[in-house]
Subunit: 666 residues, 2 copies
């Protein structure tokens, strides 16, 4: 997960005798796209064609769908450009430049400041740097915290917000095998989707995009992934891993189980319910399976031992060097100390400030309206990070989105999460009692969703643009609820920022600096949903004593469907069943490699030595779930859709010849 | 939920001008059957024909099924008696007599005893009474604790253990509408199953059985239920309800969510997996939905207020009477005090002594073997309750059951529950570390299930009959695990029995006696999975402003299936689709009444004034989930299969004419 401004040239030369030229890196960087709902993508033609995963596109497909037209499950092929359908509220970013601003950020924090002052000063300088950059370049500008606080880089992105749907396959081939086959290999998924970026109503003309390699890739080949891994915890101390093991992951998994059962029972009630909830259900089940693997890793004494040994070795090195010991030796106890605070507030903080107690889009809208009014009054450097001037456009795009909101699903989700809240804080808690207002969680949720007027986007705009006076005057019950929660929620946020995040940041910066000193700057920072470069080898692996294939074929998909009598989730779509005779069944479908990845990488382009596109990353196997804490390629593998299967399906199943021509154009 | 030895004659006369004659009560009592997996049933012919629910029969159907013959999902019609299939390990009981033994039990506990002595003395006298009764009558004899400890009655049962399957419909009509329609009305379920009791290889000839009323029942009619409600908490104090709300129900619901997701993901992997897990999945989803309703009730400030007011009124009455105050006034604080202890140990006690940490039949077998060897050495009065002499036959029937055990499902369940155990007690707990033996929960579970030999019933018999020396010498890993857990588990059990159960029992006895003094003995005890009589009226109800029907029809089932395009869980079986034209579509299918019920009542016969069978209870609606704490028939309703639908389906869909003739024989 290397930084593009610090690529692993030495490692690549040593292991693969390969040194990518600067143009190679620039093209890959500027062809790579971040999809802000939480995935990756790439430009694959000069006319702004974008390739990503179906499951990354799902949020958009879902929002476009209605009871009578289901893009998410039935797929779509735009016959002409005029048929390309505009997404409701998708934001995509392309990284244009990186600037190291560590010195300027650190300079704002003077040695005498206490934690709260340091936190405030750092936030102020970051908000200011971003605003300056936005004003100067017009580009989205984010200061990214690296190595948990040792470095700060300014990332500048070109934003595309007019994104149109070009092609999506049916959900049952995109996610063939469903939850049972998720995080497994062999796999047979056509998990792809094509969009096109528009500006001023026309397809964008771009300089940097990836060429498709129609011959794909082979066993043993060097392969690269360029994408946006969401987050890892590899640099975490042992105490921090224990916090994840004992507090954070169990809480998150509990939340996911509650939501999965809620949403799946909601879905079962009718075909229309299932459609309304499908996007959410996929994401929840996917995370639940991932978290079970993460916790299984943290419960594995062997993994904990490995981490403990490497930490002990580093601490011994630090202790043996007086200067290092005095600069960094106290970092480990400082981390333990702030995690003690975090243990005490974590659940309440997650429920209130994280919003898990109010799992409803209408509540989130109400909260943003209340906070926007409050924050906009303040000078930019003093605002909460997400309301900084340079981010307001993105906040408003979400706030005023016309994406459909289903009140039945909102009610069910809100009731469920209110029940969780009562359970966690206790029915006697005064805020709990104020929130329930004498009703059971279900009755209170029904009332709130029934009576709020925030479904109305025009009303949201009036409130959002009206500012504090207008929002304060609103007696909308959801706004009132958001206001009621605000004091306790903000208090928890402040404790979390000042007494957890800030000391962690300072301590991790010290550990990172000690590590640089001890082993040279040869480590990459933990993932931060920013662009990273990973490399590896196309390679099979052994599981329970059996050696699997390095790739599957289209034939395999038909065989697996037949094994399961074509029953969901192993049912091939009609379009594939009809094309059986014409398809080249030996075409490689999915393949595995040792390339590093994590959630957020979904949709990342996979390229060969020539920098040409050979596949699209969409998943990794169960053995790599613990990559969150420790990379290990003995069995861990990333899984890509082979570009040859994409071309074959577009040609033979979907008759999308124009799209194929565009992809193969020189 | 009235006792058969104390029937509600006054209430019936007052409200319905009806006094059931003694023969009426005797016939209903002796026609009623307890199904020991947790349900009810009744005799419906002189030749031992038994009617119950499909979902009560599911455990048996499941154990009879194989990969190629699936009784549980495809149903079964025995053409002749020779085709009736013997269940693997079903135990059924018929209540023959009740004797009040309160004085003898109380006499064993002398005033000076401390809690542990009182607990021991009470257990001893109960074990002794049961053994004497068994020796004298040959009948299964259980001392039942009523009013949480105010009374003790000796129940004597005739046991039937050779139970054979006569008829089961397909699962999709028995459970039409699945989880979405569970606890809902209107409903369209043929949730019935017929068995026959055999003795010495022949159908039993019995004197008491219910006659079928082919004309069914009508709106407004008086109706009775005779069955085995499993447990209620209506007499619980407010502090005790808070304990359920804050500790017990959240823990149970969390357990159910974990299991539901585990078992449903296991099921999705293949058709065979789904078959292996179907029984478990039904039970889990059903309980999960029930517990959500229970917790929603406990989170409803209005319900808590109602309970608080009635408790305050009783306590005021007690306080105003010096004698009552000195005999019962301290009962409420005593309950709060023992619940404090329970709060401290509950989770650990449930995981270890309750066995939730080791969710595997093979573990349960190992534990019973270890305990059986230990307990058999002791004199009968000193043994743990479940190993008392009079219960050993039932213990052994389960222990040596030939019912199939699926190692893949066992591994998945054990891994999941071990993970829960690590989470709850913490990875640093010494017992957790000993149990995991340096492996992750998944790896440890795989190893245990792979290496144990307890699948072999002959080995179990050798161990069970060999006694302590043989069991102690065993190096079977599951036996070793059960031994490892034993000291801490027994210690928790002792705390729970001496410091929670015993003081609760003493305090509740005092509250019950105070209640009897204040309001006369007009209350029935909480449900205890023993035979009870309930009465009510066939009656529709209003929900969200709409008045529903009092009954549905067969036509409604076809309409609902069509609405859902006959997709699961709203798919009618082939046999029904083919019979559409011939079925009398106006036949009543399911109906609602105000009769009181709770889990365990499933399969109970519903009879009219004449004591004749008009339906089979199989569910109640969401509004009655809180009946656990408070009966309320404004909206709460019990749901029965109408006997007319049973007869019509047997005749027209299943061509089971012999069965119909047997049912209608005079």
């Amino acid at each position: 997960m290397w930084l593009f401004n610090r690529p692993p040239l030495k490692q690549l030369q040593q292991r693969y005798s390969f040194t990518p030229p600067p143009e190679w890196l620039e093209r890959l960087q500027k062809s790579s796209i971040r999809v802000n709902v939480g995935g990756s993508a790439s430009f694959v033609s000069a006319a702004g064609l974008i390739l990503t995963n179906h499951h990354v596109a799902l949020d958009c497909l879902q929002k476009l769908s209605t009871a009578t037209r289901n893009y998410a499950s039935n797929g779509y092929v735009a016959k002409t450009r005029a048929d390309e359908v505009k997404c409701v509220d998708l934001e995509t970013n392309v990284l244009m430049s990186i600037e190291d601003v560590t010195q300027r950020v650190n300079a704002a924090v003077s040695p005498g400041m206490d934690l709260a002052e340091a936190q405030k000063a750092r936030r102020a300088v970051m908000n200011t740097i971003e605003k300056e950059s936005l004003d100067k370049t017009g580009l989205r500008s984010d200061v990214v915290t690296l190595y948990q606080g040792a470095e700060y880089h300014l990332y500048r992105y070109k934003k595309y917000t007019d994104i149109r749907l070009v092609f999506a396959p049916e959900a049952n081939i995109a996610f063939f095998g469903g939850d049972p086959d998720n995080f497994e290999f062999p796999r047979y998924d056509l998990d792809v989707c094509f969009f096109r970026a528009y500006e001023d109503g026309k397809p964008v003309k771009i300089d940097h995009y990836l060429r498709v390699e129609p011959n794909g890739i082979n066993d043993g080949d060097l392969i690269f992934l360029s994408g946006h891994p969401g987050g890892t915890s590899r640099l975490n101390t042992l105490a921090h891993l224990r916090f994840l093991r004992d507090v954070q992951n169990p809480f998150t998994l509990d939340l996911l189980r509650r939501r999965e059962i809620l949403v799946s029972t909601f879905s079962e009630r009718s075909v229309e319910n299932a459609r309304r909830a499908s996007d959410g259900l996929f994401a929840i089940a996917n995370s639940r399976k991932a978290y079970i693997g993460l916790l299984e890793g943290l419960h594995d004494p062997a993994m904990i031992r490995t981490k403990a040994e490497s930490e002990a070795a580093l601490r011994a090195r630090v202790a043996s060097d007086q200067e290092l010991q005095s600069s960094s030796g106290h970092a480990w106890p400082a981390i333990e100390n702030s995690l003690k605070t975090d243990r005490a507030i974590f659940v309440e903080w997650s429920l209130l400030e994280g919003g898990s107690a109010f799992n409803s889009r209408l509540f989130r809208i109400a909260r943003v309206l209340v906070r926007l009014a409050e924050e906009k009054k303040k000078p930019n450097p003093e605002r909460l990070r997400e309301y900084r001037e340079s981010n307001l456009e993105s906040v408003e795009q979400q706030l005023y989105s016309e994406a459909p909101i289903y009140t039945d699903l909102e009610t069910a989700k809100l009731a469920n999460s209110l029940g969780h809240f009562v359970e966690a804080l206790g029915a006697e808690d005064p805020l709990v009692q104020q929130i329930l207002d004498g009703k059971s969680p279900m009755n209170r949720a029904s009332e709130l969703i029934r009576d709020t007027k925030l479904l109305d986007v025009a009303l949201r705009k009036r409130l959002g643009e009206g500012g504090e006076v207008v929002v304060d005057a609103s007696d909308d019950p959801m706004i009132k609820l958001a206001r009621l929660v605000e004091p306790r929620s903000r208090k928890l946020r402040k404790i979390h920022e000042d007494e957890v995040q800030e000391p962690l940041r300072q301590a991790y910066a010290k550990i990172a600096n000690a590590t640089f000193r001890v082993s040279g700057e040869e480590t990459y920072p933990d993932a931060t949903f920013t662009l990273r470069l990973a490399f590896g080898t196309v390679k099979s692996y052994e599981d329970s004593g059996r050696h699997g294939p390095w790739r599957t074929t289209i034939r395999g998909a038909f065989e697996r469907a037949a094994e399961h009598k074509n029953q969901p989730p192993f049912d091939l779509p009609e379009s594939w069943l009809m094309s059986n005779a014409k398809l080249k069944l030996a075409t490689p479908m999915n393949f595995v490699s040792t390339v590093d990845s994590i959630g957020g990488n979904s949709g990342s382009p996979a390229v060969n030595r020539d920098g040409n596109l050979v596949g699209v990353y969409f998943d990794f196997n169960q053995q790599s779930l613990r990559w969150d804490y420790l990379f290990d390629d003995r069995q861990g593998r990333s899984i890509c859709v082979d570009i040859r299967a994409v071309l074959e399906a577009l040609r033979t199943v979907y008759k999308a010849d124009k799209l194929v021509s565009e992809l193969l154009a020189k």
